[in-house]
């Protein structure tokens, strides 16, 4: 059969953000896919070099509007490590509290979008109505609905009092009830299961070799979670399990996220009941001593990495952001292959893409000034082969 190329995006009904997918199709089956990025590239890494560390907190917050707390925490953690600052326990607990609330809001949002793409609009409206409860809680804590601006270098900016604690617990109680309903609906409602089961398959080996991260990886049966593997903030003291599923399809991604919601409720209740007393922050100097650091964080979408290099002034010399969505793109192409055209939005939505997070740009120039541009296909070709070769030493 003849192969046809169809472009999807950048402005497309199925995609909320500008991204361009080029599909090579045969009949109605996708044979190959290519992702074109850059519509959302704002030059954040370069801007970060011209701002002070405190200003950069607000800039990194605006890398993404859904996982805004992830980026600031990741950045603040890195800077604190450079300074050798010890953040007070209460500060760490509050940071973790906002992080988990953000995870709830992000997963509910995603569940709604997935339901919308699966053609189940009433579920979309239900989840978004319940999401407002989390938004209210976040507003109670930080004063903002989206960009919480609660982190600062050396701790958090706001404290909790008892009336706020009560309202948080009330909200969590309501959400717990609703999540029970969603668990039931997401796993037993025949139309929803039929639409999501067996679609967008990503086998375990492929998921590992293509470096998938977060719920996408855990839905392929790999129990990998930065919160467990390399605990930061208060996670080493919290009771929680890493949620996995082993059907490797879109349904598995739904199951993993709903399970994570329940874990998050557990963690929040623990934090509220065991909140240590004391200060919420320590004073940090404006100048950061020379050095470099890599900071890891488990964002709602997966592992978020910030690399910060400082040169002794009050501005970073280099900030590199690796957002989780970027790690999931090669896996998405694998998922799309041999699927149907009608499944594109659903498969693409299932990785919970956050395009604005992943819009980074690297230009490699050698000593003669010759530009070297690596294409997506090249990366796809190179990396799995390295993974298979066990003797390969990874540069880092």
């Amino acid at each position: 059969m003849k192969r046809i190329k169809i472009p999807v995006g950048p402005q497309h009904p199925a995609l909320k953000e500008p991204i361009s997918l080029r599909m090579t199709i045969e009949g109605e089956v996708i044979k190959d896919a290519d992702i074109r990025l850059g519509y959302n590239h704002r030059g954040i890494e370069k801007l970060a070099e011209s701002k002070t560390y405190i200003q950069n907190l607000y800039l990194t917050e605006r890398i993404c509007g859904i996982c805004s707390h992830s980026h600031t925490t990741c950045f603040a953690q890195g800077v604190e490590a450079l300074l050798g600052l010890e953040v007070p326990k209460r500060g760490l607990y509050l940071r973790t509290l906002v992080a988990e609330l953000e995870r709830i809001h992000s997963h509910l949002l995603w569940f709604g979008i997935a339901a919308h793409e699966a053609g189940f609009d009433s579920l979309f409206m239900y989840t978004w109505r319940d999401r407002e409860v989390v938004m209210d809680i976040l507003e109670i804590i930080s004063g903002n609905r989206v960009h919480y601006a609660i982190n600062t270098i050396g701790g958090v900016r706001r404290d909790l009092d008892n009336s706020q604690k009560g309202r948080i617990l009330e909200g969590i109680e309501f959400l717990k009830k609703r999540t029970g309903y969603y668990t039931n609906l997401g796993t037993t409602e025949p139309t929803f299961v039929a639409r999501t089961a067996g679609i967008g398959l990503l086998p375990k080996e492929k998921a590992i070799s293509l470096c998938a991260v977060g719920p996408t990886l855990r839905a392929s049966g790999v129990p990998s979670d930065v919160r467990k593997d390399d605990p930061y903030a208060a996670y080493s003291e919290l009771p929680f399990d890493v949620c996995t599923a082993d059907t490797c399809d879109v349904l598995a991604r739904v199951v993993v996220r709903v399970k994570e919601l329940i874990e998050s409720y557990k963690m929040i209740e623990f934090i509220i009941k065991n909140l240590p007393s004391g200060d919420v922050k320590v004073k940090a100097p404006r100048r950061i001593k020379e050095g470099e650091v890599v900071s890891r964080y488990e964002a709602p979408r997966g592992e978020n990495i910030h690399y910060i290099k400082s040169n002794g002034t009050d501005k970073p010399e280099r900030l590199k952001v690796r957002a989780p969505t970027l790690g999931n793109y090669p896996a998405t192409i694998e998922m799309l292959k041999n699927g149907y055209v009608a499944d594109i939005p659903l498969i693409f939505a299932a990785i919970d893409p956050c395009i604005c997070c992943a819009e980074r740009f690297v230009e490699i120039t050698d000593s003669r000034g010759y530009r070297n541009i690596i294409t997506m296909n090249e990366i796809k070709r190179r990396y799995p082969s390295r993974h298979i070769n066990k003797d390969y030493i990874w540069p880092l």
Partner: protein
């Protein structure tokens, strides 16, 4: 007579197109939030449409990146007259924190005429609804 009906129906049900021009997703989510049960702008007859050819109002978020520049102008040209542009968020107004970035033009009004600005980073859904109501008043005055 027909003109009257057209104007009446336009006022009662303006359809919007959501156009992300390089924003950070926060305003986009708040716009979708405004369409969902808590805030529900659908009671004013406002519907989110997928294609510029169906839309009356283009709702822009984001500081307008260089890569999106041609696409924004093209989408504006594809929208049938009379068309209105709403700039939601500080980025769409002036560039916000991204102002001065090498890939950012700094505001939608650098590219296309804007009818109403909604400030905030991001604006609350209530503010977006307020903006919509003000835009409807503006629609009433123009013929």
């Amino acid at each position: 007579m027909i003109e009257k009906i057209v104007r009446w129906s336009r006022l009662r049900s303006p359809w919007i197109l959501h156009l992300n021009t390089g924003g950070c997703n926060a305003c986009d989510i708040e716009i979708v939030d405004a369409l969902t049960p808590r805030f529900d702008v659908e009671r004013f007859g406002i519907l989110l449409k997928a294609t510029p050819r169906h839309a009356d109002v283009i709702v822009c978020t984001g500081p307008a990146t260089r890569q999106m520049k041609d696409r924004i102008i093209r989408i504006y040209e594809q929208t049938p007259d009379p068309k209105f542009v709403m700039a939601v968020g500080a980025c769409a107004m002036s560039g916000c924190v991204y102002r001065g970035g090498y890939n950012v033009l700094g505001g939608i009004d650098q590219l296309i005429p804007v009818d109403i600005y909604v400030p905030g980073c991001p604006p609350r859904p209530d503010a977006i609804i307020d903006g919509v109501v003000k835009l409807l008043k503006k629609l009433e005055q123009t013929k």
